[in-house]
Symmetry: C2
Subunit: 250 residues, 2 copies
């Protein structure tokens, strides 16, 4: 490793401390340093990567800010228990994604969408303001008129984020961004998602119209159908948990 980091940082236009944080963070999530374990001390990091203590310390502070480690004098930097890792952080999620069972992770993300988006659509039907509705409408028209698949995807994401924004719950918005960023890590998704835009488009229209008519039940229903449809494309059974629960007691 070592010297390569400096060149990699320069090549990607990243600062040293940022690259260091990325590298160390990824190594922690990869399991190279287990929770409770003691990391190498600052001098060793300097030596291993050939950088100054300043850069190392700033990287460590970034990881501490994400809940991965804590530093104490004389002790060193210790990896925190997984519970205090901020898994809802973009970086941490990306590191996690890179080392997890990707199929299962994708299923989890999709499951989160199934939980959140229908309710968000229903709330949006109740709570949306005029500009928020216009934003959803604009995204929908962007999908209709999309010249390429890539454009369609961009508008698709905007559509769903706009609905989360219109739901009137500030916590839903960052969750939406998180899910979006998680999905954007999975090219496989975007590649297969829109093989049947022709099916998806009327469903999006149904959601839009239900929100416009302030009909939460209809919005929720249409959103559920759309997500179920997405599932079939992804190749995930509607109840992936059913398998695990097969050996149930009663």
């Amino acid at each position: 490793m070592m010297r390569k980091l400096k060149k990699a940082a320069k090549a990607r236009g990243e600062r040293l401390h940022h690259s260091l944080a990325q590298d160390i963070g990824a190594r922690i999530l990869k399991g190279e340093f287990a929770p409770g374990a003691l990391l190498p001390n600052e001098a060793e990091w300097c030596d291993a990567y050939g950088v100054s203590r300043t850069a190392v310390r700033e990287a460590i502070k970034m990881l501490a800010a994400k809940g991965l480690i804590v530093s104490r004098p004389k002790i060193g930097s210790r990896v925190q228990p997984r519970d205090s890792w901020n898994l809802l952080d973009r970086d941490v999620l990306a590191w996690y994604w890179a080392t997890s069972d990707q199929h299962r992770f994708l299923a989890n993300v999709q499951e989160m969408r199934e939980i959140l988006e229908p309710e968000a659509a229903a709330l949006a039907a109740l709570n949306h303001t005029a500009p928020q509705l216009a934003e959803i409408d604009a995204a929908y028209r962007g999908m209709v008129e999309a010249p390429t698949i890539a454009d369609w995807n961009v508008s698709d994401v905007k559509f769903h984020l706009a609905i989360l924004g219109a739901a009137g719950n500030e916590l839903l918005v960052p969750l939406g961004f998180l899910i979006e960023s998680a999905l954007s890590n999975m090219f496989a998704f975007t590649a297969t998602h829109n093989t049947d835009m022709r099916k998806a488009l009327p469903l999006h229209e149904a959601i839009l119209n239900a929100i416009r008519r302030r009909n939460p039940q209809a919005a929720r229903r249409a959103s559920r159908i759309l997500l179920a449809d997405t599932n079939s494309v992804i190749g995930r059974s509607r109840k992936p948990a059913a398998r695990r629960a097969a050996g149930r007691k009663r």
Copy 2:
């Protein structure tokens, strides 16, 4: 401000850079530095707080790791647009909570619980493993035998977190921690929540039994009733959005 920071840090057993990050972060969320605005440069921070550049830089790196700011040479540190703030971070959420309309924020948190927990309970009914069920059961018994209200609350939180853990979706767990930490910021909640433990206890038992019997519908239903009950105690109408939507078109 200035000199006081050092004493405050020492009194709370915090490091300087940590206290600095807390203070600057809170000021950003308070709106003292708007998104897009340029922060004072490092020298000015050193001067204002009477600390070294090292401490300032480490604090800045922590805030950058939480998505609040970005630093670039010759430019300085600029406050990021709200969209890239990591609102799902414990600290950021706490800063936000301190400056927001607290009643509305509490309503949002409760709304998130209503979205997440019934579905989590249903998933837990399908997916739970034996040790996970035992954990839920232990938390329930902790509630039954709780000698004081404080003990009851501890077990209550454990109960709900255990259900999220048993749902088999890794993203639900950190969300649960986040909601818990948000709620723990609001003493008002814990103070009023358990005025009628007698009502809440059988509902918890119903959820536990539904999960044990692997009956997702029953688990979801019981969870919904429990949350609706909590709402009435909190003094929030079941559909707070209904007011805003009163002037609807159809």
